[in-house]
């Protein structure tokens, strides 16, 4: 209390510093004038009175200083002086300052950028009031970690039985077409169906309008819709008159009840959701037999005080009960509850942690470099320091001065680093908009700024400490006598600087090994056989309106005529449709069994990837048929359903048997739907190049008994001409068939594959940049130290040359020293890399963390770079003229 008011008094003085000085002058002058007047009145002459006044008062300057001391101003005064001095000193050596600043700005800027991402993705809570209590729940199969969708009967049971939650809601992401209206074009939007309690589970509030009401959780009342702020602004120019108006989604009227602020982007991720409406599962999903139909997403709000772990435990108990109760559908199934934050960011965490670690190593190397530069520079200032010590400066003052200098350097570097960070984030946003589970740009907020300043201060202290510790009166005395360079003190310094360089080389070797491993993994991945030929293949998505899917005419009335027209385009070799583009989309799986074999225990049927495709799809992607035939248009509901399967399915269910004509069964031993196998294709990867092909079944798009698709289809066209040249013809073909169908995401198959690698490519790129910077810094550090050592030993070399040493011997002397440092660094770095490379395991593919090629080639590269760095100083050493070297003493 007491000291607090003192602090405010002092701060007030600091702010009004000029006025304080003026007041102090006035106060003291008043005293002098009064004193002067008194002496005059007593009869002294003007001169004498002035002398007496000054004598009685004492030293004006001294007392002013004491007053400033008393008011706590001297500390800040000294600081300001030190900072001014530091700035002047830095300006006097522009070359040094520029290099040190650049080095440090790069190191700290890269750190700030990566930390901003970590902050935005991993640390920042989700933008919901209840973020800490929102939990996602999934079904799991056979102890696997993969988080699967939930069936409606299971969800209902969870809702009834779970005690850890205040409420449990469900949702489903979907897409829809907003109908054209007057001048507005029809538009494809992302629509998420949520139960009416979802907004309150999240703790969300509307920007305008209202949220869902619980009575809207009923068929007939559920045609209400919330708009996202972005959609509202772009489609309705942000007019609040939209509330209560009708929006038509594929012919159906929906009443707009509210607009959600842009921070509300449920269910989150890199993509933005445009609309939310009420989720009401269809009747058949509520049927007890639909317990095996896993298709919805579930979330809940924890009761206060309940932890996620407790909720997870309870959910697993409930799931275990359900497993006993419904063995046919639930055997082998369990469930998992995890916080929503973890659910969203869990997948990118390993990558971000690895990048953060890598960039931190870069900062360490940069700090070592700056420390080395400072040491080198201060070595040239020893005389200067010696003079100041001799003139009465205390060791503390000089230490403080050195530290101030390095901290000023660090802070200026941090400001520049902020620019580097902004540039990096901008570049990252430009290359990979969808590589992180956040929408929009990555902000540099005050968390990041605080971390930046803390980092800069720490670094400033770290790299200022070494030079500051070099200040010793004894040593400086030596320096005054001009013998500093050749004393033991400088040997100590040499060892310290050599240690720094060894550490730099070790750290950069570790980074290079990491980059090498990631690169090998990337190359391995790119050269894996995806089982398809992406050359001259165009893909696009077709948003199928509900009118086609409702009456089952999707294939005959829309897709087939469309395909016929595409096949007629000159240059088209093959064309087909699929419910999901391979590599890019996955997610629909079902359990199948095979005929003529006893059914296994329920739940043990293999999980099979399912795609609904048209004739021509597999040939268009260049997927090789190993047996049988492709689907044909006549494979429709008039006969038994036909299917093409992949080799992986044959290996799993029919090893060594002829699969053609065999039946795949879906259901159970008593009731099943049969598919006759008509063809077998080579394995094609489904969900990414790094995921091995699953067993897969391709069923006919022309059979309304099978409905995997939910409407939307992807087009695949193989061309003889460059694939992009036919885009406009494809568009007009679609317009001829149906005017209200949107063609979106038109792009070459190559691009689809490239995009699936974007996160890896970005990780590799960043890691590679960090490693390259590290290598450059380590090389320049080595160069600096060897150069320094050569300079120091000029006289020794001179003597050796004078005594008859030849050039080779001199070269061996200098290079031997460089080799020692590089060797020590490489050795230490190899040990570190062996220990740490395991952390990369999750990001690798096709290489082990102890990949021999990487662990052999990286040290060789580093050794070569070290040799290059040592060559210039070595050359200098061989040119030492003994006469000059000896005379320079």
């Amino acid at each position: 209390m007491h000291s607090l008011s003192r602090l405010t008094r002092r701060l007030r003085l600091l702010v009004a510093r000029r006025r304080f000085e003026r007041d102090l002058d006035d106060e003291l002058r008043f005293h002098m004038e009064m004193s002067h007047a008194v002496h005059l009145a007593r009869g002294a002459s003007v001169e004498h009175a002035r002398a007496l006044t000054h004598k009685e008062f004492g030293s004006m300057d001294r007392f002013k200083d004491e007053v400033r001391d008393a008011r706590g101003l001297s500390f800040t005064d000294d600081l300001a002086r030190d900072v001014r001095f530091a700035l002047r000193a830095l300006r006097r050596t522009p070359g040094f300052t520029a290099i040190a600043l650049l080095t440090f700005a790069l190191g700290i800027g890269a750190n700030t950028a990566i930390f901003s991402i970590v902050n935005a993705v991993l640390l920042r809570p989700l933008p919901y009031a209840n973020a800490g209590r929102v939990v996602r729940m999934y079904e799991t199969l056979g102890g696997a970690k993969e988080r699967g969708s939930v069936s409606v009967p299971n969800w209902r049971d969870w809702q009834q039985q779970l005690r850890s939650f205040e409420s449990v809601g469900g949702f489903l992401t979907s897409r829809a077409i907003v109908d054209g209206d007057g001048s507005a074009e029809p538009m494809r939007v992302r629509l998420t169906y949520v139960t009416t309690n979802v907004p309150s589970i999240l703790g969300a509030h509307p920007l305008i309008g209202r949220l869902f009401q619980s009575d809207e959780q009923a068929r007939g009342r559920n045609h209400v819709v919330l708009l996202s702020e972005g959609f509202w602004r772009s489609r309705f120019a942000g007019s609040s008159a939209i509330i209560g108006q009708t929006l038509r989604l594929e012919g159906e009227p929906y009443t707009v009840i509210g607009v959600m602020p842009s921070a509300f982007n449920f269910p989150d991720g890199a993509r933005t959701t445009d609309l939310w409406s009420v989720f009401i599962p269809p009747e058949r999903a509520e049927d007890p037999r639909a317990r095996g139909w896993h298709w919805i997403q579930v979330l809940g709000l924890l009761k206060p005080g309940v932890t996620v772990d407790q909720a997870d435990m309870e959910l697993k108990q409930v799931a275990a009960r359900l497993e006993q109760q419904y063995p046919t559908q639930q055997t082998g199934r369990s469930a998992i509850a995890l916080s929503m934050q973890e659910d969203i960011v869990g997948d990118v965490r390993p990558m971000l942690v690895v990048l953060l670690g890598a960039v931190f190593l870069v900062l360490l190397i940069a700090c070592a470099n700056v420390a080395n530069l400072l040491l080198a520079r201060n070595a040239t200032r020893q005389k200067d320091v010696g003079v100041r010590l001799a003139l009465g400066a205390s060791r503390g003052q000089i230490t403080r001065q050195f530290l101030t200098e390095s901290i000023v350097l660090a802070l200026v570097g941090a400001v520049l680093g902020l620019g580097v960070a902004r540039g990096m984030l901008g570049a990252l946003a430009a290359v990979g908009a969808e590589w992180l589970p956040v929408s929009g740009s990555i902000p540099i907020d005050w968390h990041v700024l605080a971390a930046l300043i803390a980092m800069a201060l720490l670094c400033g202290l770290a790299f200022g400490l070494a030079p500051a510790l070099q200040v010793s009166p004894k040593r400086m005395q030596g320096s005054l006598q001009g013998m500093s360079i050749r004393t033991t003190a400088s040997g100590e310094m040499r060892r310290f600087r050599s240690g720094l360089v060894v550490a730099q080389i070790a750290l950069s070797l570790m980074l290079l090994v990491g980059a090498g491993l990631l690169m090998r993994a990337f190359v391995a991945l790119q050269s894996t056989d995806a089982g398809l030929d992406p050359d001259r293949v165009l893909t696009a998505k077709i948003a199928v309106p509900r009118r086609f899917t409702a009456d089952g005419t999707e294939a005959t009335a829309l897709l087939r005529p469309f395909l016929d027209r595409i096949r007629a385009i000159p240059g088209v070799k093959a064309a087909g449709m699929t419910s999901m583009t391979p590599i890019e989309e996955t997610g629909l799986q079902a359990s199948f069994w095979i005929d003529r074999r006893a059914w296994p225990e329920p739940g043990n049927e293999p999980n099979v990837e399912v795609r609904s495709v048209s004739p021509g799809f597999l040939p268009a992607l260049g997927v090789r048929f190993t047996r049988g035939r492709d689907l044909v248009e006549s494979d429709d509901s008039t006969s038994i359903a036909k299917a093409v399967v992949n080799e992986a399915l044959v290996r799993r269910l029919l090893p060594g048997e002829d699969p053609i004509g065999r039946h795949l069964l879906q259901g159970n031993a008593e009731r099943h739907f049969d598919f006759e196998i008509v063809g077998v294709v080579a394995d094609m990867k489904q969900s990414g190049l790094d995921v091995p092909a699953m067993p897969e079944i391709y069923t006919s798009y022309n059979d309304p008994r099978i409905d995997w698709t939910g409407g939307d289809m992807s087009l695949v066209v193989k061309t003889a001409v460059p694939e992009v040249t036919i885009v406009s013809q494809v568009r007009s073909a679609l317009r001829e068939v149906a005017r209200d169908v949107a063609l979106t995401n038109v792009r070459p198959m190559r691009e689809v594959i490239e995009r699936s690698l974007s996160q890896r490519r970005l990780t590799l790129f960043l890691f590679g940049v960090f490693a390259a910077v590290a290598l450059a810094l380590a090389a320049s550090g080595l160069y600096g130290v060897i150069y320094y050592i050569v300079t120091q030993r000029t006289r020794e070399i001179g003597i050796r040359v004078a005594l008859g040493a030849d050039t080779m011997r001199v070269i061996r002397l200098v290079l031997g020293h460089s080799a020692l440092l590089a060797g020590l660094g490489i050795g230490a770095g190899l040990v570190g890399a062996l220990l740490l490379s395991r952390l990369l395991t999750g990001l690798l593919y096709g290489v082990t963390p102890h990949d021999t090629v990487t662990f052999v080639s990286v040290p060789v590269v580093l050794a070569l770079v070290a040799l290059l760095a040592a060559l210039v100083p070595t050359r200098r050493a061989t040119h030492v003229d003994p006469v000059i070297a000896l005379r320079s003493e």
Binding site: H2, D23, E27, F30, H31, F57, F63, V67, D69
Partner: protein, 112 residues
């Protein structure tokens, strides 16, 4: 006693004298505080008048006195100091501590 402690004791003494002087009531500027100390001590205390100002600012910093700019008797701008409640408490404590010190020294001088 080390020289630092001697210094503290002298400073403390000057602070005590200033507090006591201001306790006379009313606001005083530095010059009149100086005059007053000189008069009361009958010129026995030979200190530089200037050292009064660090003392005054020290007390102001600690919150024992308040300062305000005003107009002096001869119509000049001057800084006036006034004892605060906190300062009055401090004066009491310091006075007692000084008395104890003086008694202790007296005892030692008498019996040692």
């Amino acid at each position: 006693m080390t020289s630092q402690q001697t210094n503290d004791r002298l400073q403390g003494t000057l602070d005590l004298l200033v507090l006591k002087t201001l306790a006379g009531g009313g606001a005083m500027h530095g010059w009149s505080v100086a005059l007053r100390i000189q008069q009361v001590s009958r010129d026995a205390l030979q200190i530089n008048q200037g050292s009064l100002y660090p003392a005054l600012h020290r007390l102001e910093d600690a919150g024992f006195v308040d300062a305000e700019w005003g107009v002096s008797d001869n119509n000049r701008r001057a800084k006036f100091y006034r004892l605060t409640a906190l300062g009055r408490k401090q004066l009491q404590a310091e006075t007692e501590s000084w008395k104890r010190f003086a008694d202790a020294v007296g005892l030692v001088l008498r019996f040692a």
